[in-house]
Assembly symmetry: C2
Homo-oligomer: 529 residues x 2
Amino acid sequence: MSITMPTRRQLLSMIGHAAGTTAMYQAMTSMGFAATSDYSGPIELAGSQGGTKVLILGAGLAGLTAAYELRKAGYDVKVLEYQNRGGGRSWTISGGDSFTELGGHDVDCTFEKGYLNPGPWRLPIHHYAVFDYCRKFNVPLQPFIMKNNKAYLHNSQAYGGKPQRIGDVETDIRGYTSELLAKSVQQGALDEQVSAEDQEKLLEGLKGWGVLDKNYRYVTSEAVGEHRGWDVLPGGGLMPKAEPSTPLDFGPLLNSGLWEQLYVFNEYVHAPAMFEPVGGMGRIGDAFTEQTRDLIRFNARVSKIEQNEGQVTVHYEDREGGGEVMQETADYCICTIPLSILAQLEIDVSDEMKRAIASVPYASAFKVALEFKRRFWEQDEWIVGGISYTDLPIKQIAYPSYDLFEDGPGVVQAAYDTYPTKNYTYTWNTLTPQERIEAALEFGSRIHPQYREEFISGTSCAWHRIPWTLGCYGQWTEELREEHYETLCEFDGRIALAGEHCSHIPAWQEGAILSGLDVIRRLDARVNA
Amino acid sequence: MSITMPTRRQLLSMIGHAAGTTAMYQAMTSMGFAATSDYSGPIELAGSQGGTKVLILGAGLAGLTAAYELRKAGYDVKVLEYQNRGGGRSWTISGGDSFTELGGHDVDCTFEKGYLNPGPWRLPIHHYAVFDYCRKFNVPLQPFIMKNNKAYLHNSQAYGGKPQRIGDVETDIRGYTSELLAKSVQQGALDEQVSAEDQEKLLEGLKGWGVLDKNYRYVTSEAVGEHRGWDVLPGGGLMPKAEPSTPLDFGPLLNSGLWEQLYVFNEYVHAPAMFEPVGGMGRIGDAFTEQTRDLIRFNARVSKIEQNEGQVTVHYEDREGGGEVMQETADYCICTIPLSILAQLEIDVSDEMKRAIASVPYASAFKVALEFKRRFWEQDEWIVGGISYTDLPIKQIAYPSYDLFEDGPGVVQAAYDTYPTKNYTYTWNTLTPQERIEAALEFGSRIHPQYREEFISGTSCAWHRIPWTLGCYGQWTEELREEHYETLCEFDGRIALAGEHCSHIPAWQEGAILSGLDVIRRLDARVNA
């Protein structure tokens, strides 16, 4: 393979041939870069000429996307929201915030700086709709450091409980698997599957990929130092000679359980680069709320949803009022109330829809954030952003990607789990707010011994105890989806549901927004049919 | 392996046992997190009581580190600098900047926003000295996005010249190598090397790592979609069903040369997370300059360096003066002038040292930056930060990690190479500034067809044409180091050299700073002997 530009003359001659570029341009624009997204830009609705009225229940991202776009298209829109704020789970808890959870405990937050995003906290770049609305609503974004090779993988039963750096484990896994595959190739084990020519290429690739020596072994060397790091770093002048670090032994590494902890970084939703709003994820919920504030009635607790052939009637009471039940009627209702709540309300839909509503369990996710006197993870351990994973019930420790390298206090997301493995998430949800902080401190100090000494305060969110969701998100299984998903998303008379639970991207804001867009596209088509 | 916290009671009981934590703390603080760095914090010098005078040549990071620390320790310090600015190669070119390169061409920069860092442009976290001085001198830092799975790998001879996304290639490499290794294990090819029990673990690991199906094959599937992406993304409501993307075929991938382009991301110096100063790398050079400005004589062209047993005398002229030769004497001289320049000056050192000075070639690195009307790489292709690699002579296109998602113009680092592969870097250095821009445009438009349409302006730095360095950095080979490095770093009478060329980290600011620290530590020991 050769590229031109061996000489100056040839290069200049080539630059002259700009004609080729135009042809190339046309060829490449038809490659369809944007074709991978169902979100291909702003929605276009036919609109309502007759002032069709749409009542939206819930001022989270699904509801507010629908409200914003429907109003823009000429619909008469009203939103009822249980809380005194919009944004739903697009929410940030900062110093001065407090709320009462189910069971009566108050959760407060006294952080001087920093925050907890109890729900979504990071944006993968293929969540195109989220980014498009952030641009439209002027939500400034910054990089979110998902993977940091300095952060830890930790298994309390391996390496005497000593955490290992992510970069060490990954480099070693790559090295050993490359060595073993090279060995197999050289032994002829793959002669049937791989041609002789490809075997050459494969060996060459493995050598570079796994940092293997000339005998295709993964062993301590300068080159390995340049990939997994050094016991003594290369220095300046006549400083001591550099010493490459030594790979972990293969057998213990295989049995440590740490390889499995690396998988998370290979997922498409966690691929670099990721992003976050400046100031916390709640800035997105806030921005949607600002755009639609005049449409929202806050503190409205919905109790009953009725419909007949001509209209929908929703009964609700003002949570700060005297308990008087009020009504709102509309041509259509888009209901984004979480299924965990909706299943307990009177709603005038088919039995099939009712079964669907009642069938989806809600994730018992929880998070704890701890504030420390200083950013010791940066200052002592050089972990600047990123996430450590552990088999302890805290599951992970996420270091902030903001206020990097600053003096003064900092906040880490000290515990987060969403799957009820070994019932940890359920147990966490039984703890009081103070006990959650204590538990996060206790487990976290096994990874960061500085925890107790540096601790200032904590806050948390145990989603099963949040009155307006009773859980974190719709935890679909393949079987449940097969049986109920379409029913749940179809219009039932004049009522249609929306929200992350009505999407194939549960728990993510993109799912909520796309669900909102999908439901109004169908509503608009129906109105204009 | 089991962790406690199956029940609330057990958890609370465990929290009570805080005594264990203290023991754990002591065990872990002795793990020696900081032991991996030769830079273990601020330097401690015995200092000069008698006002020892040190003359430093060159106000780059090596020289200014020495100046700052020596003055602090009581030395009488003066710095002579050729340019009218300090910082050396820690430099940022922004709108309004201009300079004249060797050959007489003016290079200017008219960028509205954004910049070119012609030298260093990203900070790996283990460059502890750089970070410590940034903290000390209040240089704010932000994440530098090194790896972005949306950016491209490109070989003009593969896939019809169509660039491939980094995430696709990496996921496929991981998938196919895992599949082949699993096959080898199952065929018994590794029975001698790997125990039966470890083979089980290995197969399990490969399955998750490579996203293999139940037959250990890497093929299109939902699971593969969740790792390498989708042709149709999962949507909301009743949007079209998601379709996972299809892996590239193994043979063509092996032969595409793209695997090799991935290696760069596995290097320790490029490991996530990386950082950069807000406003460009030159903010570091600026900060060092601010700290030492009163010690620096700018525009001083050194012509001769003499020494005898008692002192060092340096001859120089003011570049803005009338050509009058001036002298400065001192007890010691720390000379950080690049070897490419120093080799041409009269200097009173041993023949051995002279040979060392004359022996190290300087890298012919170059960079071109282009300003475009809009951030089309973000808006059209969802590449937000990161670097695309290509076999074209531009070698790489680096997208800015700052001003993300903004409207208006943006600047990419459109060409950068440092190794004289196929003589490309030499050829680039023969082009005029305008021709470099044209070449970067021409080659870059094969990857981003939007280039011509969106182009506003460009700037560049061809290091061999920069009068004060005549090259980018000392390009050591193992043989050269063996023969000359120690000589180069040892004191020669009252003269000692410093700079990135006197370090094991050439081209990096960390090398310059550590070299400066090392030389003053030895000087201080000698003064206080």
